[in-house]
């Protein structure tokens, strides 16, 4: 076996590939996060709604998405969903970066399903007596939610949401299977071109780990700074 030599995979060309993959992974994480959060909130509210049809929709979204492996989601979003679209939209999609858009679509749904459950649990974790007490003190419903329930819920929701963001960051690596040129894709390219699997994946591991640790540190900091207040 050749000696471990990081320089062999850090030539200008390979480094360029790896950096572009790293940046695309970050971009994918950020875009998906921004899309998934409102969708997750909407789904959580559906599940908490007093309207039965809304609850069914929320239930179907969460269970339908969460119980299918991410790999299957992405292959479905790339190979099947575009074929169901009208010709004009499909043509537009294929003109643009279909690999990225389909990956973002699949990851958004997948991430939102998990986030929705965290948001729902967080809201439910605030004892109902808090709301009742607020109402007894003369707050209206909205004011009770805004001033009493939600501030407590956010402290409970944010740590698991950060944890879901960490999962999202790692899950972007699966997008390599549909040709999205993120970090894992570029790493495989470098490995093929350099025959340096150990070095390539050492670097890739460090890249994933560094961002993951930053997200973890953020979660720890938040929990220290804004601990859950027991009622």
């Amino acid at each position: 076996m050749p000696h471990f030599d990081l320089a062999a995979v850090l030539t200008d060309e390979f480094r360029g590939w790896l950096i572009s993959g790293f940046l695309l992974s970050l971009e994918l994480t950020l875009i998906v996060w921004l899309l998934a959060l409102p969708l997750a909130t909407f789904t959580a509210l559906c599940r908490l709604s007093s309207l039965a049809p809304a609850r069914w929709v929320g239930f179907a979204l969460v269970e339908g998405i969460r119980n299918i492996p991410l790999l299957v989601h992405l292959l479905f979003w790339y190979f099947a969903v575009p074929e169901l679209l009208p010709e004009s939209i499909r043509a537009w999609l294929y003109e643009h970066n279909a690999e990225f858009i389909c990956a973002a679509g699949g990851l958004t749904l997948y991430t939102a399903a998990f986030m929705a459950e965290d948001i729902r649990s967080g809201i439910r974790a605030v004892p109902i007596t808090q709301l009742e007490a607020a109402r007894a003190l003369g707050f209206g419903f909205l004011a009770s939610m805004r001033r009493i329930v939600l501030p407590q819920a956010v402290r409970i929701i944010v740590p698991p949401l950060i944890s879901q963001s960490l999962n999202l960051w790692k899950n972007t690596s699966v997008a390599t299977v549909i040709g999205t040129a993120e970090l894992m894709y570029q790493a495989q390219r470098v490995e093929t071109a350099s025959f340096r699997g150990v070095e390539t994946f050492t670097l890739t591991t460090l890249a994933y780990l560094s961002v993951s640790l930053i997200i973890t540190a953020l979660a720890v900091w938040f929990q220290r700074r804004y601990p859950v207040r027991t009622a």
Partner: protein
């Protein structure tokens, strides 16, 4: 250790030289035993494989071996080898020549000699007919798909530096992406590509396999190094096959329209050992 190395080297060299002396004229040895032992793979249809009915080794390379044997005036004896064992078996003298789908590479030239190229294959591109593309160079700035991990992507980029390549875990996935119009070209090894094209059935009319290859892989017979007499004779036999038209016949027998691979044209001649 440093002091010992030259001595060891000298001993090895002496050994090699004496071995070489013992088989100085391999051609004479072959004539004496009356048979030419050809190392073939036997698992690589249609280059060399076992005929299900007769249980004998047949194929393109088996026929080439027979032609060479005929030229020498002996009988041909194909012997099956594992891929990794090909070159060692040749060097150790268990087979006389290799007809084992052996790609002629610069690295291998250090250990074996090569005959003229007996089969030239490569990687090619299938495009959708409505793309209007007829030449590889027209793929500049266009999107093509292929499989991860092989030489397809680097070779495609070498052929057309500005092409956009998207890779998938398997070749069939890339092929589906082409069929779904996610790209305008699909790059793969020629034999696999023609196989995929064959499976399209009536949809073949919508696709074209560009005749140009983006990379060339030359397959040749392998010979022990420093056997000029045998090498000359082998190359003569191959040249005669080409000039008499038999080489062309052999090609179409194993690769032509009536075969599984359905090559419509033969894009090489047995006349060179360039790679």
């Amino acid at each position: 250790m440093k002091a010992i190395a030259p001595v060891t080297l000298a001993a090895v060299l002496t050994g090699l030289l004496s071995m070489h002396a013992a088989v100085a004229d391999q051609l004479a040895d072959i004539r004496k035993k009356g048979e030419l032992v050809c190392g073939v793979l036997g698992t690589d249809e249609p280059m060399s494989f076992i005929d299900a009915r007769t249980r004998t080794l047949i194929g393109y390379e088996v026929d080439l071996c027979e032609a060479v044997a005929k030229k020498i005036g002996v009988s041909a004896k194909p012997r099956q080898l594992a891929v990794a064992a090909r070159i060692p078996e040749l060097q150790q003298g268990r087979v006389d020549i290799l007809a084992a789908t052996l790609t002629h590479t610069k690295e291998r030239e250090a250990v074996v000699d090569f005959s003229l190229n007996t089969f030239v294959t490569g990687q090619r591109v299938m495009v959708r007919k409505d793309s209007g593309i007829t030449k590889v160079a027209q793929l500049a700035g266009k999107k093509v798909v292929t499989v991860k991990g092989g030489t397809q992507e680097p070779n495609m980029r070498k052929a057309v530096p500005t092409v956009e390549v998207v890779t998938f875990e398997t070749a069939p996935q890339a092929f589906v992406a082409l069929q779904q119009r996610k790209a305008i070209g699909f790059v793969n090894d020629e034999v696999s590509l023609l196989d995929a094209f064959g499976k399209l059935g009536p949809a073949q009319k919508d696709y074209v396999v560009l005749t140009e290859s983006i990379s060339v892989e030359a397959i040749a017979l392998g010979l022990r190094k420093n056997e000029p007499a045998l090498k000359t004779l082998v190359n003569d036999a191959l040249r005669e096959l080409e000039t008499s038209g038999q080489a062309e016949q052999l090609f179409f027998k194993w690769f032509g329209p009536s075969s599984r691979l359905k090559y419509q044209t033969r894009n090489f001649k047995i006349d060179s050992d360039r790679i």
